[in-house]
């Protein structure tokens, strides 16, 4: 067919009879190894593959694989980046707008938004079951809103994109205030709550289901209620409503073993009984088996392990970048029940390290040496363990968080803790073997709740944004962490470099700078005012 055409064209040529119309036919070629958007999205299978493409953003190294989950979000008062001599990086609050981690994450998230936009523009043309269409649409809309949310959470004011980009002339997009962005997100997510699936909670935790939408909505509303959007009470009410919807659904419970969920996430298991984990970023394999999903969880935020002679078959390589602070330690001291420590202490702050591959316990005075212990490569079951890439999942939202959000918003709405608020916070405490709370004022409850969130959710990319919305990020990091590091009796001088991180932290670090590349090319955008 092709050859025929070629012979024909040669003949045509030799006769010198080419006319313009046939020239353009001759020059017509069709791509064969990729598809153009114009010809895709025709049926349910194609739409589902495109939806998977929208989910794909989550497992990128720049998003939950490492950058957003750890490097960008793990910058708070309960953890510090355990390396000397680090400068210019976001994880020690020394970034400039030119920082590549910021740029890459920003780029990945907007690419994910663009994929979602294109899918939403095309899905109505697909020949597919209406229920399925609604479900896929709900997931895509939710993910689009979620990507905007994690951008707004970290950067503050950002551009909102609701249409795919298909022309180089239309790339200048101005930003909206964080409040405007969050209102857009709340509207979108509220519309999605009844569109997405609400069954099979015992199966995949990486697909978005109704409770994930509701739980994230609670988080968005809390963000909207607090600093700097300062929406206040109406948004606390909304947050309480959505968190309570999750609770009322009865789909989720706390696993009595605080370790269980993290072990499951590291070993590719799904807990179909308690379903504590509501939505996870899923990672699979280690990149040597022909797939590319693997992230770096456990590798960057696990326990330092770099000289084990049996490392590929043993406990796996770990950089141990993140360690706990004395502030976190003290939070657990407060809940210590007699001599029984808070069950979460040794989960969060690993009580041991690997000296040349051999597990050895830290002494009681070694507090700030303890690496984050929630993501341990020893729990992985995939061998040989690749140096940098792991199959460990990351919890985007889990039930304990929902309970604490419900407790917090109940306290805010009523300006005093309600029975529901106590019920929620005490469920979380009880599981950790900590005495329940009662008889507190609004302020006392609020403080207990903040501490509880710290104890429960540290190292999960949530603390920084909690501190920001409570309006105490600079106080917490600059003042409180600064003072903690200065106490050289407890904070050994060998780890004293954390003082530079604390000292550097100022108001502008509440939100990230817009990447230089974006500013240079998007003429409608201006830098965040403090940068």
């Amino acid at each position: 067919m092709c050859t025929k055409y070629r012979i024909k064209s040669i003949l045509m040529a030799t006769a010198l009879t080419a006319v313009v119309s046939s020239c353009n036919n001759f020059l017509e070629t069709e791509p064969s190894d990729f598809v153009a958007p114009e010809t895709y999205y025709s049926n349910a299978e194609e739409v589902f593959a495109a939806l998977t493409g929208v989910y794909n953003t989550i497992h990128l190294e720049t998003v939950y694989g490492s950058n957003y989950s750890c490097m960008i979000s793990g910058v708070d008062d309960l953890s510090y980046y355990d390396r000397t001599n680090i400068s210019g990086e976001v994880y020690v609050n020394d970034q400039t707008p030119g920082n590549t981690i910021l740029l890459n994450t920003w780029t990945s998230l907007y690419a994910g938004i663009n994929n979602a936009n294109l899918l939403l523009e095309k899905i109505d043309g697909a020949d597919m079951d209406e229920n399925l269409r609604t479900k896929y649409k709900g997931e895509a809309r939710f993910l689009r809103a979620y990507y905007h949310f994690i951008l707004a959470q970290a950067w503050g004011d950002i551009p909102v994109k609701t249409a795919s980009t298909n022309d180089v002339a239309s790339v200048n997009t101005p930003k909206k205030t964080q409040a405007e962005v969050l209102d857009f997100i709340i509207n979108e997510m509220e519309a999605c709550a009844d569109m997405v699936d609400s069954t099979e909670y015992n199966l995949s935790v990486s697909r978005v289901k109704k409770t994930a939408v509701e739980g994230i909505l609670a988080r968005v509303c809390l963000t909207r209620a607090g600093y700097p959007s300062n929406g206040g009470k109406p948004y606390y009410e909304k947050a309480a409503h959505w968190a309570n919807e999750v609770k009322k659904s009865g789909k989720h419970n706390l696993n009595p073993d605080v370790y269980a969920m993290y072990k499951n996430m590291a070993s590719d298991k799904v807990d179909g009984i308690y379903n504590e984990s509501i939505w996870e970023a899923e990672f699979l394999g280690n990149r040597t088996e022909g797939h590319y999903s693997a992230g770096r969880l456990g590798n960057v935020n696990g326990i330092l392990n770099n000289a084990d002679p049996n490392i590929a078959q043993g406990d796996g390589y770990g950089y141990g970048f993140f360690s706990g602070t004395t502030i976190l330690w003290d939070l657990y001291l407060k809940t210590q029940n007699g001599t029984t420590p808070d069950a979460r202490r040794d989960l969060s702050m690993a009580p041991y390290t690997y000296a040349k591959g051999v597990k050895s316990n830290w002494s009681a005075t070694n507090i700030v040496q303890r690496n984050c212990g929630k993501f341990r490569r020893e729990w992985e079951v995939l061998f040989p363990k690749e140096k940098n890439y792991t199959p460990e999942n990351f919890p985007i939202i889990r039930y304990a968080d929902v309970l604490l959000m419900l407790a917090e918003s109940e306290n805010e709405v009523n300006q005093a803790p309600t029975a529901l608020a106590y019920e929620c916070i005490n469920k979380v405490r009880e599981r950790a073997g900590v005495l329940p709370l009662s008889g507190l004022s609004y302020d006392q409850f609020k403080q207990e709740l903040k501490d509880e969130r710290g104890r429960e959710l540290c190292f999960e990319g949530i603390r920084k944004y909690d501190l920001v919305r409570w309006g105490e990020y600079v106080t917490a990091v600059h003042d409180r962490l600064g003072a903690a590091v200065a106490d050289t009796k407890r904070w050994q001088t060998a780890k004293g470099f954390a003082a530079f991180y604390a000292a550097r932290t100022e108001k502008k670090h509440e939100f990230l700078p817009i990447p230089t590349k974006e500013l240079g090319l998007n003429k409608a955008l201006v830098q965040n005012p403090l940068w």
């Binding site: 070629t29 153009a36 194609e46 998977t52 794909n56 180089v168 590929a312 530079f500 998007n522």
Partner: protein, 1044 residues
């Protein structure tokens, strides 16, 4: 094995020869042709007038021809006047040819694309390579000999990998992100990538390089980077000639790097290792530092480099029978690399036939086939850890072993941490990592030429090109990624990779030419239409954990689920072309050309590009008043203007793409699901990149052309730059192809050729060329002020920008901190505890102030804000040279000839990234360093500006590692001896010549690395980067040329 192959080749060859040797019988006439001095003139054409049969004279000027008494013999020879002799009854004829007063300009013919013109009639800037001079030292590919020969043509290779193709840039880079390679036209077939490696240099008749727009515009949308026209030899008049050219070459690395010996190495370890660890390793069993003074220490360069042997064999048969001219050749090249287990082999054959069918019709055919096989890994390809590259292992491997084990025999050094340092026994790496690249290349062209009426000719040609490439890689248990040592976190078990690609191209050209002269008006006109199509396909397979190493490449189906990629693409092009050459009295010249190109690569609205050009020339030496000047033999002023294009984007660059593959998946509940993601944006406005070029040229010849000077001054403005232009990330894309940005190249070229001494026994000629080019970026995408680029060689540096291309500057400037020596004791306050604390007011070096100690590297705080950060990075080097050139001298004394060729580059810098690792103090334990690092800062050596052993803030691109890359190289020296023909006669040998030549004899440079001609991440944006390059060799060859 190789010998038997060659025998086979020869057998075929003679079989072929026998079938074609002519038989002809009439009257036999012999004779001799002499010059004025009475010396026999070899190579004179002897033709029977009215027929096309004839012969050429032998080395003594003698000839024998079959003819009849009525015939008239015509004797012609370049540089001599033609002479006719009536045969009559003569049995012997003696002819003395008179020297022709006309200049070389008159006789040299230059290919300008779709036709030839005489050098004297050129109006554009076209350079002709001197092939015979280039071939005086043996090369496997002609482009290897092209560097420095022609002004304005930069020829370079990334490093010294055997068989690697060269990159050619003519008159500077036009494009920033796209290819700057010229268009190659081999026997009329235009190709966008070099195919010179498939040709045997001995088969090449001529190389003409079209430089200015008036010359290149006939190639329209593909001409902007210049055009290299390669023409192969066709059959010659006369009896069959069998030629054998052979050479044997011995090569060695031109330079090795001095490394620390065992003593210095242990001394360094002592500085960076805890005392208890030293006690349990290097200082075990009562050893001290002094014990290492006399211990044997390895230089692993001795283990990895070798004296390499290269063989070249070439046989050809050329001649003419009746109206059929034929040229056939076969060749075999076996080249060893100077790194063990690396080599390059090529087997090639060619056949050119030209048949005159009748007075009006003639047919030409040619075909070339070559198979090239390269073995061995390229040492500089790994991009994510510097420790993965071969030279890292060679230089970094320990010179002594504290355990006394012989490290040569061990797979890995037992004392390195395999999870962080991927060093691997380099000898075993080189021997066991199976890396093979096989390239099969076939071209076949055929053309018919029909002369309707005198000088009105139609040429219809068709061609086909097939290139198939296969890359095979296998890593068994004794390789870095294949070994299953429990410390190896990179292990993939036995693993294999196979890559196949195929390019198929076809071409049809139809060109009508007409020329006539009337009343001193000379006109030559050409119109044509051409069609070309290219299809590409490729696929690759990766398989890990192959169950048994003995399967080798056959294990592709015997391991994990393979990862397979494939791609398929095509493009088509259709063009109309026209050209008019006019001159009046050979004094006033005008050339106009116009080409329209339609390409499938661009959307319908921008599919057609139009490329006009025009040039005028004035041969003032033919003006009456000048004509009779003794000292001026030639003088021509040329002025040209034209527009040309560049279409080097991928075939479907204008379309939006949905990508699916392993990086677009997502896993749901431990199962992968494939996904589709947008990978590029549509740009319905995509079109050609256009280069507008002005050229002013002056050609002068003095004293009967014994001194010849060519100068050209040009300006190239490139606009609508095809740029992989950055987009704001909120668009969802990081870049897309756009026509955006402008580049300007201004340059001056100068070529001087002189015949210094010219007498019977001794001749001396010289040729000198120099070219200046200044490329300037005038505009970038969306008002961007600079493009920053990083170089992938190590994760620690990959996120730092190493190059900047900014407005009003040349592209590819080196970027980083300005090195300011080391911190000295004066820069510190001393605390009560004896600690050194950086004085206030003295800026840090990117590391935190409190960790900085004396001996740490110091960088200039450019904005004087007291803090060193990204804002203090600046331009620290220049990637592009200021000028380049070459200087050749040829001496001939009786039967000896000597050629000496120098080549240089001036003004470019090199990022010596090797020193960033091997003079860099970032605490690399158990790793050997360069000997230059012995002089590092230490308490005993406090004035040193080389950072201390445990320095903080040292892993930065800085001017410390930027070196001057200027060089002057004695590229080749070649001494030849031509055996006197009377000695050969009794053996039936027509001519014999012996050559002894040396390549890359010495290089004068300040560059401390292997070789200043290096660019392992070569592009317009990232030139002159050196890390773990394959070293260039120095070689000596012995060659023999025989003609029967």
């Amino acid at each position: 094995m190789i010998k038997s192959k060659i025998k086979l080749f020869l057998a075929f060859f003679f079989f072929f020869a026998l079938t074609i040797v002519p038989m002809y019988a009439q009257v036999k006439v012999s004779g001799v042709v002499k010059d004025k001095s009475g010396e026999g003139l070899p190579g004179v054409n002897v033709l029977v007038k009215g027929r096309t049969s004839g012969t050429v004279t032998d080395m003594d000027g003698k000839f024998i021809i079959q003819t009849s008494p009525k015939d008239v013999l015509k004797f012609s020879f370049i540089g001599y006047k033609n002479q006719d002799v009536i045969v009559g009854n003569k049995k012997t004829i003696e002819v003395t040819l008179e020297e022709n007063a006309v200049s070389i300009e008159e006789v040299v013919v230059v290919a300008v694309g779709y036709g030839d013109v005489k050098r004297k009639d050129l109006t554009g800037s076209v350079a002709k390579a001197n092939i015979s001079e280039m071939l005086k030292a043996p090369v496997t590919s002609i482009d290897q000999a092209l560097g420095g020969r022609i002004s304005g043509v930069r020829v370079s290779s990334n490093d010294g990998v055997p068989g690697a193709s060269m990159s050619i840039v003519i008159r500077g880079n036009n494009s920033l992100t796209q290819s700057n390679e010229p268009l190659y036209v081999i026997d009329g077939f235009p190709m966008e990538s070099s195919n010179a490696g498939s040709l045997n240099p001995n088969d090449i008749e001529s190389i003409d390089i079209l430089k200015d727009a008036s010359a290149t515009a006939i190639y329209g949308a593909r001409g902007a980077n210049g055009v290299v026209i390669i023409t192969t030899k066709s059959g010659k008049e006369g009896r069959p000639v069998i030629t054998y050219n052979g050479s044997v070459t011995m090569s060695n690395v031109a330079k090795t790097i001095d490394l620390m010996n065992g003593y210095e190495f242990v001394k360094l370890q002592n500085e960076i290792t805890l005392p208890e660890d030293m006690a349990s390793s290097y200082y075990k069993d009562g050893r001290t530092l002094e014990s290492y003074r006399d211990m044997k220490s390895y230089d692993w360069q001795d283990e990895i480099f070798r004296t390499a042997i290269t063989n070249n064999h070439y046989v050809s048969l050329t001649g003419k029978k009746d109206e059929l001219k034929y040229a056939a050749s076969l060749s075999a090249t076996n080249q060893q690399g100077v790194i063990i287990a690396s080599d390059f082999d090529r087997y090639q054959g060619r056949l050119n036939l030209d048949q005159k069918v009748n007075d009006k019709l003639s047919v030409s055919m040619n075909a070339n086939y070559a198979r090239s096989i390269t073995n061995g890994s390229a040492p500089s390809t790994s991009s994510w850890s510097a420790t993965n590259n071969l030279m890292y292992s060679v230089w970094g491997y320990r010179p002594v072993s504290p355990t006394g084990n012989d490290l040569v025999d061990e797979l890995v050094d037992p004392d390195i941490n395999m999870a962080e340092d991927y060093r691997f026994n380099p000898v075993l790496s080189a021997r066991n990592e199976y890396r093979k690249r096989i390239n099969d290349d076939l071209t076949a062209n055929m053309s018919l030429q029909y002369e309707f009426i005198k000088n009105l000719k139609l040429k219809v040609s068709g061609g086909y090109h097939l290139n198939s490439f296969r890359r095979e890689e296998f890593n068994g248990p004794n390789t870095r990624t294949g070994n299953t040592n429990p410390k190896n976190t990179q292990s993939k078990g036995n693993n294999a990779y196979l890559f196949n690609s195929e390019v198929r191209g076809w071409l049809n050209e139809n060109v009508l030419t007409y020329s006539f002269s009337k009343k001193k008006h000379n006109i030559n006109a050409l119109v044509g239409i051409t069609f070309q199509g290219n299809n590409f396909s490729s696929n690759d397979i990766t398989v890990n954990h192959i169950t048994n190493a003995s399967f080798g490449m056959a294990g592709l189906g015997k391991g994990d689920t393979p990862v397979v990629n494939s791609s398929l693409s095509e493009n088509k092009m259709m063009s109309y072309l026209s050209r008019l050459n006019y001159n009046y009295k050979s004094k006033y010249y005008l050339t106009l050309s116009y080409r329209a190109d339609g390409s499938s690569k661009f959307p319908v609205s921008n599919r057609w590009g139009y490329f006009p050009s025009g040039s005028v020339a004035w041969n003032f030496s033919r003006e009456d008043k000048v004509k009779d000047l003794d000292w001026l033999s030639n003088g021509k002023l040329r002025l040209s203007w034209g527009k040309t294009g560049n279409n080097r984007v991928s075939d479907f660059a204008a379309l939006a793409k949905l990508y699916t593959g392993i990086s677009s998946e997502y896993a749901y509940n431990n199962n992968y699901s494939s996904g589709y993601v947008l990978s590029s944006m549509a740009n319905q406005k995509l079109k050609w990149e256009t280069t507008e070029q002005f050229d002013l040229g002056l050609d002068l010849g003095f004293f009967k052309d014994r001194i010849r000077l060519t100068t050209d001054l040009y300006r190239k403005n490139t606009y609508d730059l095809l740029l992989d232009a950055d987009l704001p990330p909120t668009s969802g894309f990081s870049s897309t192809y756009m026509n955006i940005g402008r580049m300007r190249n201004d340059g001056l070229e100068f070529t001087l050729e002189t015949d210094n001494i010219k007498n019977k026994d001794f001749q001396w000629t010289s040729s000198f060329n120099i070219a200046f080019n200044l490329g300037t970026i005038e505009d970038l995408s969306l008002n961007q002020e600079a493009m920053l680029n990083s170089v992938s060689f190590d994760n620690k540096y990959n996120s730092q920008y190493a190059y900047i291309s900014m407005l009003n500057r040349p592209s590819g400037m080196m970027y980083g901190f300005l090195y300011d020596g080391t911190y000295k004791y004066d820069d510190f306050d001393v605390t009560d505890k004896g600690l050194y604390v950086l004085k206030t007011g003295i800026p840090n070096n990117t590391a935190s102030r409190q960790v900085i100690q004396p001996g740490d590297p110091k960088y200039k705080d450019i904005n004087s804000d007291g803090v060193l950060n990204d804002n203090d990075r600046t331009i620290i080097g220049r990637g592009q040279p200021v000028h380049t050139g070459g200087f050749t001298n040829n001496f001939a004394y009786k039967n000896f000839d000597l050629n000496i060729f120098f080549q240089w580059s001036y003004g470019n810098d090199i990022y010596n990234a090797n020193r960033m690792i091997f003079e860099n103090p970032a605490k690399r334990k158990n790793t050997n360093m360069y000997a230059s690092y012995i002089n590092r800062w230490s308490a005993e050596n406090p004035t040193s500006n080389i950072p201390r052993s445990d320095a903080q803030g040292s892993q930065q691109y800085s001017s410390l590692y930027v070196e001057d890359g200027s060089f002057l190289r004695l590229k080749s020296v070649s001494l030849g001896y031509t055996v006197p023909s009377d000695l050969l006669k009794k053996f039936g040998v027509k001519s014999a010549k012996f050559t002894l030549s040396a390549d890359n004899l010495f290089t004068i440079t300040n560059y401390s690395g292997f070789d200043p001609e290096v660019s392992v991440r070569n592009s317009a944006l990232t030139p002159g980067f050196d890390y773990s390059a394959y070293p260039r060799s120095r070689s000596v060859s012995f060659g023999l040329n025989l003609s029967l």
